[in-house]
Amino acid sequence: MTKRRRSRQKRLADMAGQTNPAMDVWRNFARHPVSMAALVILILMIIAAVVSGFLFDYDTEVTALNPAELLQPPSAEHWFGTDKFGRDVFIRVMYGARYSLFFGIVTTAVSMVLGILIGATCAYFGGLYDIIVMRIMDSLVCIPSILLMLTLVAVLGKGMRGIIIALVVTSVPGFARIIRSIVLNVVHQEYVEAARASGTGNGTIILRHILPNCFGPILVDVLMSVSSCIMAAASLSFLGMGIQAPAPEWGSMLNEAMEHMRAYPYLGIFPGLAIVITTLCFNLLGDGLTDALDPKNR
């Protein structure tokens, strides 16, 4: 009875056009089991990453040598086996999520903010400023990204700071360009003209009227960027130019595993699987959102 009444209320609300657009997108998104599964896995991963910081002691459990248990295959005690220093691979893979998720999310957030600043101001002000800044952005894209990252890390030093700056420098031009084109579409619409005519300042117009309308289209790019940043960071570490051993970064774990892969293949399997699952989930989330945000599907 109550259920029927509630659905009737909802139908009335629908008829009156009182639907919440965010709820619509969510309902569309939740219909896809694959995207939902990706979301759940990512949430579990984030929880695992946070919890592993409290659960395991970095010095004694994550990086300490344990000569008594060298190179053991996966077992009930060591789910993913142990590496050449006797360290538990499961603990290290779980702890490694902290690095990858951090790189993916933080560098994307920073690049997005910088990209918005650059792209929105270019589109809004136009003129010489736009031409010069966008030429610089376009030129940066011409430097092969892996090379640009390697040279930046070489100069800034291997480690956290180097990786983050390298990833940001290579991701910003893409964001700047996308945001510029979106803002260019929005900037000439009537509500912006109206705001300008009524004397609203440039900053307020960009923040209050333009950016909220860019959110949907760039959300997908943001998720794709998270997964490509995770991959790029792991590649740098794999090449020995990123996070250094003994830290359990997935890429550097694979680098370490290379020499023992022939006899102990499991060493090379689990960290790689972790990378694939993480990047795949972000990509699936992006695909699901693309569908959910598509007005045709509402």
Partner: protein
């Protein structure tokens, strides 16, 4: 068309200066100076400073950049700090290996990716479409270096079919090329599917259908030609990107290519080599993009009109 071409070619000149300057500026913060690399760790700071002064390294960045560019325009990209061998002589012998890797990788990614993408688009909504979409998404999520390790594990260590490292025979190139081509072909397939679907739903297809053209004729004569334009550009970009990205395959399979040389130079703080290699690959990228743009303009008058 000529006007467009000239305009587009003039367009890259400022880019050349921006790229070289940005790279030069980044490398000028490098911890390795000519003195510190050439004289080794036993040298005192005074000796290093003296050496740097003698080779003109203590001049302002802008002056050194102008100097570098004047020499570079004449084909002189400086010398290795430690051995004094010209950068061009050091790097060029390594290039053919990397070029082969990138060329074959892009060739195979087109040969695999385009048919799969076309099939997925034509059979939209069927199991074939869903299957290829899922597989290509998974493949696109695999980092190249892990794919390389898995291939190594399977084909060299388990099956013993292919040599694990080195160059020489065609067998040495199978796994490195696959490492680069598989993720790239997944990307191409996704892109082809998207552009095909877009073209299939356009007005000229409806017209062709209304005029009685069969499905085969529509796909191969009308749609494919239009859908391939962005794909050609994408293949050009992948090729240019793979020239840099080959470093990963070179590292896993022990191939002495361009990327390995760059990585070595970075570790030895050989700034001139890193600089020369980066500038070379970036310019190559720009030239490839230029070629792609010109091809696109040749095939599509709309682009010409927009630019010209």
């Amino acid at each position: 068309m000529l006007k467009f071409a000239v305009k587009r070619i003039l367009f890259i000149i400022p880019s050349i200066f921006i790229i070289t300057f940005v790279t030069f500026l980044i490398m000028s913060f490098s911890a390795g100076s000519p003195g510190s690399v050439a004289l080794g760790i036993t040298a005192t700071p005074e000796e290093i400073a003296e050496y740097n002064h003698a080779v003109g390294y203590d001049r302002p960045v802008l002056v050194r950049y102008a100097d570098y560019m004047l020499n570079a325009l004449q084909g002189d990209f400086g010398e290795s700090y430690s051995s004094g061998v010209p950068v061009v002589d050091l790097l060029m012998p390594k290039f053919p290996t990397t070029l082969k890797l990138a060329l074959f990788a892009v060739l195979f990614s087109a040969l695999i990716g385009i048919p799969i993408g076309v099939l997925a688009a034509v059979k939209k909504g069927t199991i074939a479409d869903t299957g290829t979409t899922v597989v290509s998404l998974v493949l696109a999520s695999i980092p190249g270096f892990w794919l390389g390790l898995l291939l190594l594990l399977l084909f060299s260590y388990q099956l013993g079919l292919l040599p694990p490292f080195g160059i020489g025979t065609w067998k040495h190139y199978v796994m490195p090329v696959a490492t680069l081509a598989i993720p790239s072909s997944a990307y191409v397939a996704r892109m082809v599917r998207m552009t095909m679907l877009e073209a299939l739903s356009s007005d000229y297809v409806r017209t062709a259908r209304a005029k009685g053209a069969g499905p085969g004729r529509i796909v191969f004569v009308h749609v494919l030609r239009n859908a391939m334009l962005p794909v050609i550009t994408q293949l050009g970009m992948s090729f240019a990107g793979l020239l840099g990205g080959a470093v990963i395959a070179e590292q896993i399979f022990g191939m002495p290519g361009f990327g390995t040389a760059i990585l070595e130079a970075i570790n030895k703080k050989e700034t001139m080599i890193v600089l020369g290699a980066t500038i070379f690959l970036s310019l190559l990228y720009m030239l490839i993009m230029l070629a792609m743009d010109l091809i696109n303009a040749l095939l599509n008058p709309k682009i010409r009109d927009n630019m010209g």
